[in-house]
Symmetry: C2
């Protein structure tokens, strides 16, 4: 097909080819390779030599048919494959790859029909398990139509059924890291600017922030969190607004890095030194934002890759009949840069 030196064989050798070359039966060849069963070392060696000579590799389809499993897991992402699901996916792929398990990718784009379609496909392929992940941290209804006890792990957005296995980010602990960092640095007049009030991530983080401030007998400098959207533009507008209402604000804790970057832009344009006069802390550690901001942002890293990895490990456990039902919280990490 191509004139290059790449190998282009017609069809791969099967176990009977190997057996024939080694002068044994297929069954013996199989046992020689699997290590089971007793046999003369010499015989086993002949089989191994034949394998090498023919470049034999077992047909996974056949193994799967016999074993009734596929050494494959489905990874369903509910809304595109974006900034959040990608690291989760990589973490999962990494952990699974170690166990000779491959990942089948299914993107539902938030469409229930598509989700059903993919689910049927996964069941038909006899996947060993399924990881469901979404962008939002809001709980989601469990997958409907899982047959034969195939285990499912929900990553990032937990299942509404507490009997399911979910792996999520520990927002409370993340907020505590941020608030403690600001308090320790002596900030007491803190504002909170975040995303839409209908996102769990926004309301949860706001709630935790107010709680931790209350623990230190403080409250938000403007009296309440500011809900908007996750954009830089909102961060810029919100900063203007907060500074008008409470000019003595000495810190902003933001619901994500884009908002935080918007806040720093407003501060810089007003000539307010960061972190000298006002400190800013973001959330997510999205490096395209945190590193490009001026100054680079101190932020909370939610360890998305770790979430994916743990989800995969929990799934492997469940596949091995050791399910750990419930919600598993993955701790976040404070990343200190120049903004606070």
């Amino acid at each position: 097909m191509s004139e290059s030196g790449r190998t282009v064989t017609k069809a791969r050798a099967t176990l009977s080819d190997v057996a024939a070359l080694a002068g044994v039966s297929v069954g013996t060849a199989s046992r020689a390779l699997s290590g089971t069963g007793r046999m003369r070392p010499e015989t086993r060696q002949r089989v191994i030599d034949a394998v090498q000579a023919l470049d034999f590799r077992p047909n996974q389809q056949a193994q799967s048919l016999y074993a009734g499993r596929s050494w494959t897991v489905g990874l369903m992402t509910t809304d595109g494959i974006g900034r959040f699901s990608t690291p989760v996916l990589l973490g999962a792929e990494d952990a699974l790859g170690a166990g000779k398990i491959s990942v089948l990718l299914c993107d539902t784009r938030g469409d229930v029909i598509r989700e059903q379609h993919h689910l049927r496909n996964l069941m038909d392929r006899r996947v060993d398990g399924i990881i469901v992940t979404g962008r939002r941290t809001d709980p989601r209804p469990p997958l409907d139509g899982v047959h034969g006890g195939v285990p499912v792990v929900y990553a990032l957005s937990p299942s509404t059924d507490p009997a399911d296995i979910s792996v999520v980010s520990d927002d409370a602990q993340g907020c505590r890291l941020a608030v403690d960092h600001l308090l320790t640095a002596g900030h007491t007049r803190i504002a909170h600017v975040t995303g839409p009030a209908h996102h769990a991530a926004a309301v949860d983080r706001a709630r935790h922030t107010e709680r931790f401030l209350a623990d230190a007998s403080l409250q938000l400098v403007t009296g309440k969190p500011h809900f908007g959207d996750w954009s830089e533009a909102w961060g810029r507008r919100a900063a203007e607004m907060v500074l008008r209402t409470a000019p003595d604000t000495d810190a902003f804790f933001c619901g994500n890095d884009q908002i935080a970057r918007g806040v720093t832009d407003t501060l810089r344009e007003r000539g307010i030194p960061v972190p000298g006069a006002v400190a800013v802390v973001g959330y997510d550690n999205w490096e395209t934002m945190t590193l490009a901001a001026r100054p680079p942002l101190t932020t909370i890293d939610v360890n998305l890759t770790e979430i994916g990895r743990i989800a995969a490990l929990r799934l492997l456990d469940a596949i091995d009949n050791n399910p750990a039902p419930g919600v598993h919280m993955i701790p976040s990490r404070l990343v200190v840069r120049d903004s606070a």
Copy 2:
């Protein structure tokens, strides 16, 4: 297992269950479902009823074993799954899903060992084909170790072997769109700021830009393109530099959107109206950059999703024994916003 209403069946029905219930043989049941072979409509109906009653779905493993193919393609990404490979991946998944083909995800992280490992795995699983994609547009060596004529399509970064199938972005046409847009608006003193000189995307775009300017008897306002890195910081620095060397610059064409955003930041901070005094055009249409920039950036969209889609279609053609060797160029699109 769970107290919710979800179906939890023990094991799925097989075709012999269906046949038994319908009172026919397995062979007949199979033919009834596949539509092949002649039979009494009444018999066929009985089989169909049995299928419904048992919620039968054929076991893909068995079908694959018989057919010698898996209705699966491997998608290898060479360096993480980032901003560039993700849309390609989605486009591919979309096009393949229509053909009942699923996607196996393999991330090599730029590691040759890992690439070999994944490739062997894919061959063992008898994938119907492979799509290889990378972040960089630089050509890459073809996959080594593809057996049995399994077709491979290279997306985004072409194969160095011209006999392979590659689907890439048409950088020349993209640059022409940008340059023409600037020229039509009357700009003649154009600067070009781009990424590292060891990236094909940077040097190619620079070369095309100079060529199209030459076609209009013009040259770059600073006499040469400015190579740096793909960051906002470089965009900001480069803008300072260009304005010092050639204060009468009336447009910046940038190698990507981050650089373009950096340029607009410098211009805004110097009080230079964009696009009133100086126009700015980016590249890639990365919306987190283009929409957040002030003003929102006019840019070139390389249609990554389309590249993925076409790569998948070419792969399907090749699987059907109609390979279209060579490099396929996907045209880009000018997205006009406020910066030019």
